[in-house]
């Protein structure tokens, strides 16, 4: 059947069960409490002065008594430098463990080597906020019998709280830790910054292993992972490739196109009515999104406007804005480059936050709810402003839901920035492959060819028009794009569902079907 935004979602999905249909971005939250109970975290005990130290990761994993059908979790703070996830899965596979549910907060190209374990039945189910590289392609082609479930960062916390994801083992990589398992990502040779996504795993996993390449004397400060949740501690030579952990993605782009889009987006912000003292702000790390921060910084200095807080994925560029006094604080759930780590250590107004505080919809108010302005990217956007950030133009899984729908839902002004087409591929389309973020939570689309305001925000449209900005109908833009690039041949799918896109509240907003070869 079609859900409220017109996406065809079956009422029952094999391997998943009955579908809880998406009913609108805030409908399920309106009554103020949730029907799904929070499951109790495990009760654990340990007698005094017993050592948690294991000589190898293998020894630690064996001590947790892994079993067929277990769920094992990881965080993705090591980005494309991570070598813990692959190593851990290899160990479990060598032990003959089968039917594993993998619950990594995201999967990147660096995890490609585990593809063989999807093929041989070691891993049979995946929960993740994003899947890139060979795994995304293979999943789209139907390598797993059970569909993968794509959740948002906030949705992951909710799914763990409510027991939809039932963690047996969490393997938490940290750049520094002590013998009891107090751990951080903010210093050590592989420093990566915030450990925000691992916090929920630590609290809910039946067993927790902390793995580090920098053991420090007790106590490890600051404490992001606390010893009372940690079962075992392992020291290894390396948790990953430091050069890839520090991606360096935080340099402002030199692409004229991205800069142009970013400049228009900054003009939109300036004239939105929300660019006022005390505003809160979130931008992503790449391309046009980060470049918006550059132009906003210039406007803040010129207009002498000081903001309240910066949220989310944090780059060294926004850390500089904090240091310049342009904002009061940074709440950091994920650091995008290693340079951020030292700020986390030294600046008391740069605060590490857990994913639950960042974006979990099932609580008394996560920080995304307090956002004024967020700037987000898109792989595709349709005429109702629904956004796809998970499947590419060929219909295969190659992106990440991440905090997209969380922040869009919370912010007063959600701006999507993207070119209207890339190469010969339209980005603004009548029909998009997958919906991750519903259009009702997206206010403005900014492209190189103009600004489109969601009709649900007529006042905003009026403000932007008054400021002389190039506001146009999204339908006109789509037609212009189609005239330039031509009609694209639609991707063909089979009936097999290979992925489910959960909205942050746990309802199903869309499904991803197997791409026909």
């Amino acid at each position: 059947m079609k859900n409220i935004i017109g996406r065809e979602v079956p009422e029952y999905i094999e391997g998943i069960g009955k579908t809880d249909m998406f009913i609108g971005a805030w409908e399920k939250l309106k009554k103020g409490w949730m029907d799904e109970p929070t499951i109790p975290p495990p009760n654990k005990a340990k007698t005094p002065h017993l050592s948690k130290i294991c000589e190898t990761l293998e020894e630690a994993i064996k001590k947790t008594s892994p079993k067929d059908g277990m769920t094992v979790s990881f965080h993705h703070h090591l980005r494309n430098g991570d070598n813990i996830l692959v190593r851990s899965i290899e160990i479990l596979a060598n032990m003959g463990i089968k039917n594993i549910t993998l619950a990594s907060s995201s999967l990147n190209e660096v995890h490609n080597p585990i593809l063989k374990y999807l093929k041989d039945g070691t891993i049979t189910k995946i929960w993740s906020s994003g899947i890139r590289g060979d795994i995304g392609k293979a999943v789209s082609e139907g390598v797993l019998d059970i569909p993968v479930i794509i959740h948002s960062h906030g949705g992951r916390v909710r799914a763990i709280h409510t027991g939809k994801i039932n963690l047996d083992l969490a393997i938490v990589a940290a750049s520094a830790a002590d013998e009891e398992g107090n751990a951080t990502g903010s210093h050590g040779k592989s420093a990566f910054g915030s450990l925000g996504y691992a916090s929920i795993d630590m609290r809910y996993a039946k067993q927790v292993i902390v793995i580090t390449d920098t053991m420090v004397e007790y106590p490890c400060i600051p404490i992001s992972i606390t010893q009372n949740f940690v079962d075992y501690v392992v020291k290894v030579d390396s948790i990953g490739d430091a050069s890839k952990i520090a991606t360096g993605s935080t340099r402002i782009t030199k692409s004229p196109m991205d800069l142009r889009i970013a400049k228009i987006a900054a003009d939109v912000i300036e004239h939105s009515g929300l660019f006022v003292p005390g505003f809160s702000f979130q931008v992503g790390a790449g391309g046009a999104s980060l470049a918006v921060a550059k132009f906003i910084r210039e406007k803040m200095i010129k207009s002498k406007i000081k903001g309240s807080f910066i949220l989310g994925g944090v780059t060294s560029y926004v850390v500089d804005m904090l240091n310049e006094g342009l904002f009061n604080a940074i709440f950091d759930v994920q650091s995008f480059d290693a340079a951020v780590s030292s700020s986390l250590m030294e600046n008391s107004n740069h605060i590490e936050i857990p994913a639950a505080l960042y974006a979990n919809p099932y609580n008394c108010g996560c920080m995304t709810n307090k956002l004024d302005i967020v700037v987000l990217g898109a792989l595709e956007i349709d005429l109702d402003f629904n956004v796809n950030v998970i499947t590419g133009s060929d219909g295969t899984i190659r992106g990440a839901s991440g905090g997209h729908s969380d922040t869009a839902s919370g912010a007063n002004l959600t701006i999507v920035v993207c070119p209207s087409f890339r190469g010969r591929l339209p980005i603004v389309k009548k029909y998009i492959h997958t919906v991750v973020t519903p259009g009702e939570t997206v206010d403005v689309l900014v492209t190189e060819r103009g600004i489109c305001v969601n009709p649900i925000k007529p006042e905003l449209e009026e403000n932007l028009k008054k400021a002389g900005l190039n506001v146009r109908k999204i339908q006109d833009l789509q037609e212009e794009v189609e005239a330039i690039v031509g009609k694209v041949k639609e991707v063909e799918y089979t009936d097999k569902i290979v992925g489910i896109v959960e909205y942050r509240d746990g309802t199903i907003i869309d499904v991803i079907r197997q791409v026909k070869k």
Partner: protein, 285 residues
């Protein structure tokens, strides 16, 4: 004015999005000899199919002395871009030849002679010497531009960042343009990563009278606009001058003072130019 190589489809289709006042689709120096035909066909099709919004579109053809110039004109002139830029203009005779060919093409296609203008590009010492006559020659010539790189080569001097070797030429070109009430557009600043250098060069161009500047990368556009855009204070002052002028004129007062300073015709002209740059309609005041 943004230069776009005529053989680069990706850049051509995005020509109108960067906020340049005008774009130059280049069939000449940016295009290799073995790409000339392809570029001509591509630019022709782009002119037919791509919306450049409010950006003025100019096409730089090859010189008529080359094997490509005539074919360029035959393909491009019927499409009537806003302007044709003619490279290495040295004498009025070659300008006369160019206009004769253009008008013959226009007649063949029943097109008017007063729509598409000509930008004469001065790139040689001889061109500089003749620039006043070139600027004066025809009403179709509505801008004179300087090609700094070629001029430097023609003069056999070293190209420097501050462009001291072509300073006299720049000033002569501006003077010729101003004397004939047409635009003068400055040469490009080639180091795209030197934003401070571009700003200094543009400030100088503005100071000596150029009405605009060519760019080779869209990233350079904002700096040039920033330099040429009057400040808020200048706009307020100009607004006040025009307002007072209109009020006094109504009351039959010719000369008047603002803050103790006499407002005369040149100051009024300058104030009007400032408002024009700020997109403020004189009649709305």
């Amino acid at each position: 004015m943004l230069y776009i190589p005529g053989n680069n489809p990706a850049m051509l289709q995005q020509g109108g999005i960067y906020g340049a006042d005008s774009i130059l689709l280049d069939l000449e120096d940016a295009v290799a000899l073995n790409q000339k035909d392809a570029a001509r066909i591509l630019v022709r099709n782009v002119l037919k199919s791509i919306n450049f919004y409010n950006t003025e579109v100019c096409v730089r053809i090859n010189h008529l002395d080359t094997p490509f110039g005539l074919e360029d004109l035959e393909e491009i002139a019927p499409l009537q871009p806003d302007a044709i830029r003619y490279p290495k203009t040295e004498t009025v005779e070659e300008l006369a030849k160019l206009i004769q060919i253009i008008e013959a093409i226009e007649d063949k296609h029943n097109l008017p002679h007063d729509k598409m203008t000509i930008h004469a590009m001065i790139e040689t010492a001889l061109g500089v010497q003749n620039v006043f006559e070139i600027a004066k020659f025809s009403k179709r010539v509505d801008a004179i531009t300087i090609g700094g790189q070629d001029l430097t080569a023609d003069m056999n001097i070293k190209s420097t960042k501050e462009g001291s070797g072509i300073d006299l030429a720049r000033k002569m070109i501006v003077m010729a343009a101003k004397a004939n009430k047409i635009d003068a557009i400055d040469t490009v600043f080639v180091d795209i990563n030197d934003e401070d250098g571009l700003r200094i060069d543009t400030e100088y161009a503005k100071q000596i009278g150029f009405s605009g500047k060519a760019v080779i990368n869209p990233r350079q556009i904002d700096i040039i606009h920033d330099v040429y855009m009057p400040t808020e204070e200048e706009i307020r002052k100009a607004y006040r001058i025009v307002l007072e002028f209109k009020k006094n004129k109504k009351e039959g007062i010719g000369a008047f003072a603002i803050d103790g300073k006499m407002i005369d015709a040149p100051i009024m002209t300058r104030a009007t130019q400032v408002l024009e740059l700020a997109n403020i309609d004189f009649n709305s005041i």
